[in-house]
């Protein structure tokens, strides 16, 4: 019961954070001098991709812990899967928001720009990883196979992050983290962005906890179904022996 209350309080705190983010982003923060109100999409676009990076980072870290025999535990494998799934949701949102932002600002929904392309690759790499998690195998085989795939997929995260510095195509450089390390955002806009990142971090944590709990329950269900199938097989074999005797 205490866990349920804690979870509900966590959900309420997350929801409150997101509602305040929407109010700050849509009403309190001023419009951008050049982009007008379209820039308000940044308060979703930036937090979702940063949290996607974090999600894939946690997937990679949990996968490493799974691969080391000393730290191997089923929870690391399930956490890797849960975090990757939330990361895919966030990356999908980033791509859609980016497209909606690009149309009025760049005049195009999509361009094969370095940042956009590597983000799309990131999305499909982790979609593939989630598909791999559903392939049939023993827990150990699946865990090892997926952990290696997660580490390979993570290589795209730094490439995606540095793509605006390396190639300098259509996508702008980082507003907060760029090669000159000059923060290009101040005042209410900066506060709104920081608040949005905090709210989305809470959301990420909430979603991963819920997804991990579901994964643990699913594993329990699989185990129970396996035990029932074995019991049924044993019963059938005994019945056959009785008939033949």
């Amino acid at each position: 019961v205490t866990t349920i209350i804690k979870q509900r309080l966590f959900a309420i705190a997350t929801l409150t954070g997101l509602v305040i983010t929407a109010v700050l982003a849509l009403w309190v923060a001023p419009p951008d001098a050049q982009q007008g109100d379209a820039q308000r999409l940044m308060y979703l676009h930036v937090p979702t991709i940063w949290l996607a990076y974090l999600a894939f980072g946690i997937t990679a870290f949990a996968s490493l812990l799974w691969l080391f025999p000393r730290t191997r535990h089923a929870t690391w494998d399930l956490l890797a899967g849960a975090s990757a799934e939330v990361g895919v949701v966030f990356t999908g949102i980033t791509l859609v928001i980016g497209s909606l932002w690009g149309r009025p600002v760049w005049g195009t929904w999509w361009e094969w720009d370095a940042r956009l392309t590597t983000t799309a690759i990131l999305f499909f790499l982790y979609l593939g990883y989630l598909a791999l998690r559903r392939t049939g195998a023993t827990v150990d085989e699946r865990g090892t196979r997926c952990a290696i795939a997660a580490l390979i997929a993570f290589a795209d995260v730094p490439v995606n992050y540095l793509s605006v510095t390396w190639w300098q195509t259509l996508h702008q450089q980082g507003t907060v983290f760029n090669d000159k390390m000059t923060v290009e955002i101040t005042g209410t806009m900066a506060f709104t962005l920081v608040f949005a990142v905090g709210a989305f971090t809470l959301l990420y944590a909430y979603l991963v906890i819920r997804r991990l709990q579901l994964a643990q329950l699913e594993e329990g269900l699989e185990e129970r179904e396996l035990q029932l199938a074995i019991a049924e097989r044993v019963r059938a074999e005994r019945a056959e022996q009785v008939v033949s005797a």
Binding site: I4, A22, L26, P31, G36, D37, A38, R40, L41, L44, T48, V89, G92, I93, V96, I97, L100, W101, R103, P104, L203, L207, R210, R211, Q213, L214, L217, E218, G220, L221, R224
Partner: protein, 43 residues
């Protein structure tokens, strides 16, 4: 300066729909799996 509120509304709308759909799917799937496990209480 063009304000483009339509794109902003679409962006916030799509995000809200995507996140709410994911949370609802998580809750429904969790309830369904819990119901299949006799020793688990539903929330």
């Amino acid at each position: 300066m063009d304000h483009n509120w339509g794109y902003v509304a679409a962006g916030y709308g799509v995000t809200a729909v995507a996140l709410v759909s994911y949370v609802v799917w998580l809750a429904q799937r969790t309830r369904r799996v819990r119901r299949s496990l006799p020793d688990e209480r539903s929330d």
